[in-house]
Structure formats: C-alpha cells, structure tokens
C-alpha cells in the first residue's frame, strides 16, 4: 500500500506535459517493477481511461483497485493528484517569475521532446500487447487515419473501436 502511494506520488510529481506522459511511468513501475497488472490489463486500463470522462490519469483508479480494493483506488488517485495540487498553488505565487524565466523554459524545452520519445517507447510495448492479430493491426491503422488525417474526436474513435471489437473481434 505504501508502494502504491509512493509510486503514484512520483508519477504525479514528474509527468511534465500532460496525461499521456504518465503512460511510460505507469508501465515502468506498475507493470514491470511491481507486477501489479499484466500488459493486457495495462492496455485495458488505459482504454477505460479513454472512454470515461476526465483526464487519462484516471486509469490509476483501476491499478489502485487491483492492488488494494476501493481504498487502493482512493490512495492511487489521491497520491497522483497531490503533487499537481501543490504545484498549481505554488504557481499562483510565482506566476510572474515563471512566465519569463528562461531557465524554466529551457528545461521544459528539453523535457518536451524527451517525453514524446518516452510515449513512443511505451507505445511500442502497448502495441505489442494490444495488436494481437492482423485485424487489430488494421483497426489501429484505421483509427490512426481517422485521428490524424480526418481529425475525428478521440472519444468517438475509441467508442467506435470498442463497437467494432464487440461485433467483429
């Protein structure tokens, strides 16, 4: 339970750049280090995070529940939100300094591309777990086209993918 709390505290504290960035973090700790969930469950947890409203980080609830029931999900969600909470309040006091600070911007300019690389790396692992046959591969490509080429909303794409899975896979 302490591991759960500390892991999600860490995820909350270092995921610069938004919710997608937490995916490589969760994979490393929850799947690889602690073995709280399988690769398949990891993919499904993220999928559920996409079909529920709110931030993707809500997938933490699933992991917390698997480790320690309802209390575990409260702990995971609380721990992951705690750093965010204090950062945003601290930011209110330092806003003018943050805004023009060149060091902060240089730091973030380095982190920005790195987290994309990390998301891609996690994406590979997820693709290996999620694309189990030719049909899931084709479906993923079709979804990608819809998202990038035709700018279809992500929540619509994910619901459509689930529907196709229900009827055909």
């Amino acid at each position: 339970m302490l591991d759960l709390f500390l892991t999600f505290l860490k995820i909350g504290a270092f995921t610069f750049g938004g919710g997608m960035v937490m995916i490589p973090f969760i994979e490393q700790d929850a799947v690889n280090t602690f073995g709280w969930l399988t690769n398949r469950e990891f993919v499904d947890a993220i999928a559920m995070g996409q079909i529920t409203p709110g931030p993707v980080i809500i997938s933490s609830v699933f992991i917390g529940y698997k480790v320690a029931g309802v209390l575990g999900s409260v702990i995971a969600m609380g721990a992951v939100s705690l750093p965010t909470f204090f950062y945003s309040i601290a930011a209110a006091h330092q806003l003018h300094r943050l805004k023009g600070n060149l060091r902060v911007r240089a730091f973030l300019k380095g982190v920005g591309p790195a987290v994309v690389g990390m998301i891609l790396a996690a994406g590979f692992t997820i693709a290996r777990a999620a694309l189990v046959d030719i049909w899931t591969g084709i479906l993923a490509l079709a979804c990608l086209m819809a998202l990038v080429r035709f700018k279809v909303d992500a929540s619509l794409v994910i619901v459509a993918a689930g529907g196709i899975g229900f009827f055909f896979l």
């Binding site: 999928a47 994309v116 229900f166």
Partner: protein, 208 residues
Amino acid sequence: MDHSNEKPEALEPPGLLQMAGVLLKVGATGFGGAMPILALVHDDYVEKRHWVSQEAFDEAVMVGQIMPGPIAVDAVTHMGYRLRGWPGAVVSVIAFILPPFLFMLALTLVYLRYGGVPQVAGIFKGLGAGVVAIIAAAAWRMGKPHLRNVRTASLMVAALLALLLLKANVVLLVLLAGLAGMALFRKPADLQQDPKGSGPRAMKGGAN
C-alpha cells in the same frame, strides 16, 4: 447575455458550491483530453459566468502546461486557488476528479468481473487497437513541432532509445532531458514561443 467583450470589472467571484457544481458537470461530461475539457471550463468560467478574465484563464492553462500532472487538473486547481484560496483549490480538485473517479471505479468492477466473457474481451480487443492509435496520434501531435529542430529531434530519439533499449529510469530521463535543455538552449532566440499555440481551442481533438 453573452458578451465576450465584457469589461474586467464585471468579474464576479463564485461561491464554493457554485464552483463545485460547474466542475462536477465538467468532470462528468468532459471527454477527449485536456484541451477539449478546458474548452468546457472556459465556456463556464470565462464566457457564461465571468468568474475569471481571459488573461487569467490563459495563465492557468500555461500553469497546467508547465507544471507536472494532468493539464486540466492543474489549471482548474490553480483557478480555484486564485478565486477562493485554499478551500477553492480543495473543492476544485475534488469536484473535478469525483465524477470520472466514480465512472472509472464502476468500469473497473465490471471489467474485473466480466472481462473474460468473449463479447467483452472482443470490446477490449477493439479498444486496445484504438488506444494504440490514440497514443500514436498524441505522439505525432506533440512531436511534430520538435522535428523541425535538430537538437529537439535528437533529444526525442535519445529518450525513445534509452527507454526502449536500455530500460532507463523514467524520472532520471525527464531530469536529464531538462538539464540537456538548459545546456542546449541558452540563447533567448532558442526559446522563441513555440508555434503550437496554447489556447484550449488551438489543440482540440487531442487525447491527453
């Protein structure tokens, strides 16, 4: 009654309950990642209710992008604090997280109970393919601006390989990349505003 050119004096700070009500609603209906969710918050906070000015809202979005953690949660907590102090921040984060938390908990229970049923497994096969696409699309959207510059492009590839091949520690990677950024981008010219734009409208349709 919807004048978008309202003067700043017209701002009316909300009560805690009012704020909780709006955030519960946004939390329950906000799909598709940080920017579409923030667009909903913008509708209520800035346009309909005049709780915060456009400038303060933009600052909150910037805070969300700079600070770790989900962008929308950061921004909402930050505005809650500026409007009503600590109680405002606490109420904001709880009201915003509660609806998705309950949805997710319900889904988790259903999944753990019926995940093995063939039809349900089929749904998740489909969803999994969708997730791969969403991650790839997010990487594409977030990565495109970095491809134009050799230094940022190299950082991206380096992080990808370090994680994929060396299984490097993610926290260490983030810190190293930040330090590399501080070493590489010393001149103000290196830090020209990113062209991606930061308003909630600018990045619709992404999944964060």
